[in-house]
Symmetry: C2
Subunit: 197 residues, 2 copies
DNA sequence: TATGTTATCATACATATTGTTCTATATTGA
DNA sequence: TCAATATAGAACAATATGTATGATAACATA
């Protein structure tokens, strides 16, 4: 790939991200993007087929980075814990979200944030499906594992939304504590009050 | 209000709902809507300022109906339980969603479902804020009440999405049971294992 | 450095969507 | 019956999309 292409791509991603923090996704025009990025119309369409395409690539780029940056890759396409506990990994992800140079929070804060969080959740589902066992005891024993996985990743994404609405007032560790308080029994496999019988 | 206006409004709502089950919201044009509804362009704009306006009114219409249909209204703008337990009310809401003549599931199933569920969550937040007490005991005692409310309503909406993705395979009662399994400790106020101190 | 390749820009263009304005017609409520 | 008004249809300016063209500049390589 040409140096020019890399530069252009970066300029477009950056312009797109900047626009998203000011405008709703579906109100952003291609003209807005190419003006902000200082690239020609033809150039934009040489890199991305449509605006939706740009969106999709942006999401993949960001979340693949966030999650794999908090984990070690193993095998061809699976994630696994890199020694840390689930709690530590989740805290790490929160730090990543907050401190990324890519202005992730800016993107998630925008009026189209839901769109991105949907992609985010897809990644989390893959991640969590490795951590969550089929529970053996009530009250969770009758609940399908897929439901629990979806519930936990949905809760995480929901928490991030809440965090952003509150201007990131909580420290990642604190937030991680909240998350543990509401999902601990699921992630631990079982609540700590194992009352045999 | 004129009979004609009522009829026109109904035709537009119906056409919009039908289109949503085939097409993504932002790919639907005003032309599509007025063709499907068999109304003139002028007429559409006499009823709704923009397409977004139509969306908003559609959501308000649906969710106000779903929630108030499962509750008794009380006071000016607050909800309260109509005798039933939270569990019973939630089950009722699930029935409502599934069996409504307004094809709610059709709308929520569409590619823009997230958009609607966002509105749904707003209503649920109002509802749940009346049921959820500030917890007094670990592990929930240090967690802000607003977080818990948002977590529970987010989990409900998330569950509905999951339900739809699975083609409504579970009965509302069964689903309600899952929900209780993962949020019970919060809705009950405290987990049942009250270990004083 | 010289050279062929290719990414870029600016412009123009056909097409499609939006929201407004106008007039004529049809329906309504009294 | 009749005045009020909701509607349809068409035309319209303004804006957005995606494509095509030719000229220019930056690149990789030898």
């Amino acid at each position: 790939m040409d140096r020019r292409q890399q530069k252009t791509r970066a300029a477009i991603f950056s312009a797109f991200s900047a626009l998203l923090s000011r405008k709703r996704y579906d109100k952003i025009t291609v003209q807005d993007i190419i003006d902000e990025a200082n690239v020609g119309r033809t150039t934009f369409y040489a890199h991305f087929q449509t605006k939706d395409d740009l969106l999709k690539e942006t999401c993949t780029d960001i979340f693949e980075h966030v999650i794999s940056g908090s984990l070690m890759m193993e095998g061809s396409h699976d994630f696994s814990l890199s020694g840390g506990s689930p709690q530590a990994v989740l805290t790490h992800i929160l730090y990543h979200l907050r401190d990324s140079k890519k202005n992730i929070i800016g993107i998630l804060s925008c009026e189209s944030g839901d769109l991105f969080l949907q992609y985010f959740k897809t990644y989390l589902n893959r991640l969590l499906s490795q951590w969550i066992p089929q529970p053996q005891q009530p009250p969770l024993s009758g609940v399908p594992r897929e439901f629990l996985i979806d519930h936990v990743s949905g809760s995480f994404v929901n928490m991030v939304q809440w965090w952003i609405r509150n201007n990131l007032r909580q420290a990642p560790e604190e937030l991680s504590g909240y998350f543990w308080a509401v999902t601990g029994p699921i992630l631990e496999g079982q609540p700590s009050n194992i009352q045999s019988l």
